[in-house]
Amino acid sequence: MLIKKRSGIEIPSSEITPEHIYASRRQFMKGATFVAAGSLLAACAPKGFNAAPQGAAPVSEDIDLTPGTVSTTTDELGDPINSYEDITTYNNYYEFSTDKDGPAKLSKNFPTSPWQVEVGGLVRNPGVYDIEDLRTKFDQEERIYRLRCVEAWSMVIPWMGFPLSKLLNEVEPTADAKFVRFETLYDPEVMPGQDSRWYDWPYVEGLRLDEAMNDLTLMATGLYGKDLLPQSGAPIRLVVPWKYGFKSIKSIVKIDLVEEMPTSLWMSAAPSEYGFYANVNPEVPHPRWSQASERRIGELGRRETLKFNGYEEQVAYLYDGMSLQANF
């Protein structure tokens, strides 16, 4: 059953965005040279690109929104949803390829059915869930989220899915459970990138239990009202919109409740660059990419990166009293 609902984020944008963020956004956009350069460039931009980034950009006619498949055309900040084509052809999915256009090409024959997700560890009701059961058991909601990649690009994506908390409530974590550990399918036969020796496959990610229980944390099964395509993490993936994109693990086969903090693939690949938390934060720099600004796909130029990717109000409480610099 499909319910078009934006639970938790169906709030006027004036309420959801703290005043100072709006103010700083405005100020940032006012940077005269910034906008001037943007508008000059608009003239030489290829098709499908918006001009200078703006706080509440109007929906461009160039953006291909398939009619009837999304209930709205912008996120709660008024920024337009990215086109289905951009979302499904520009992907980071190293299990298939390290090129952005590689996953869409190399994942065409990736089998997503039958598919089972094993949920276990420190829970009272462990279980193996068929993907079809997960789709019918939990109401599928539409959630329009910003996705901010650690590489400093971003998109706005209309996901379909259900809050992870519903699944966790069903399996009942025990009192010892402190973290949730997720694992992607390991099958180099269909995921050629897993032959690469640069990484410890399979892909592993983790969340603290309270992060996992937050209403924003989504198990996505679709986007633009359609089932996920393999390059987007079919048939089921995590979406944690206030963290860098790599936290949102794809094609999940295993979810374990554990006591110790899991080590993610990226933590083991480059511990100084990727921490466990990986919260979007313009104040915590990364050695390679500026985290203070980002390129929104479909726009020219850069826009300011928002703390917790603009979801500060919903998630900042999770980190009260924690140093975000130390726990990057």
Binding site: G31, A37, G38, P46, G48, Y90, T98, D101, A292, R295
Partner: protein, 217 residues
């Protein structure tokens, strides 16, 4: 019919210009037909950077190729590839500063001085700038010996360019390491004693071949 020296020189020059312009032509083609990836700025940044690094390494390969095979005829390509490498570097930097960062100086300052890769890349640009400016025959004559000294800085620029590439990639270092190995070999072949030894080997080998040839016929 064999070509005389002048004709060969001309053909090599033309081929050098055409070859060095291919990346630019491909960019224009993809732009015209709308074939860029959704992150258009990233793509053109990476492509101009790759063209610059390839041409820089190629321009440094010409002298070692002469050492190894006696291909002196390729010498004009040193300057041609070098100047085009700088053209792509300038494009690359312009895209970064203007298209990507929209001339927003606080962000550019942060990027250049806080990101190792950007700092190293910018240093390579600063080294290449005077080399490009003095790449004319006129400057070469006017500066005499100083010209040679100045242009030796290209070695450091190339090392910084490859380092810039290594610092930039996320984790799979295969490609930048290939450039590093090639550059390492090319620079090693320029070290005096090694160069002399290679030339001696080549000459001996050539003599041996010549003296054997009549016996085989």
């Amino acid at each position: 019919m064999s070509l005389d020296k002048k004709q060969k020189n001309k053909i090599i020059r033309i081929a050098g210009h055409v070859g060095a312009l291919i990346p630019l032509a491909l960019l224009a083609y993809d732009y015209y037909f709308g074939l860029f990836s959704p992150d258009f700025i990233r793509e053109i940044t990476l492509r101009t950077g790759k063209a610059a690094i390839v041409l820089l390494v190629l321009s440094l390969a010409i002298t070692p190729l002469n050492t190894l095979f006696g291909w002196k005829v390729l010498y004009p390509l040193r300057r041609i590839f070098g100047v085009y490498a700088f053209m792509y570097v300038a494009l690359h930097l312009t895209i970064f500063v203007y298209l990507d960062y929209g001339l927003s100086w606080p962000l550019i300052r942060e990027a250049i001085f806080e990101k190792r890769y950007a700092l190293v890349g910018f240093a390579a640009f600063l080294i290449l700038l005077p080399l490009a400016v003095t790449s004319t025959r006129w400057a070469m004559k006017k500066m005499g010996k100083k010209w040679t000294t100045l242009h030796k800085w290209v070695y450091l620029a190339a090392i910084l360019a490859v380092l810039h590439y290594i610092l930039l990639v996320k984790n799979a270092y295969t490609q930048p390491f290939i450039f590093a190995v090639i550059l390492g070999v090319l620079l090693t072949l320029r070290i005096g004693p090694i160069k002399q030894w290679v030339i001696r080997q080549r000459r001996n080998w050539g003599k041996g071949k010549k003296s054997r040839a009549p016996m085989n016929s």
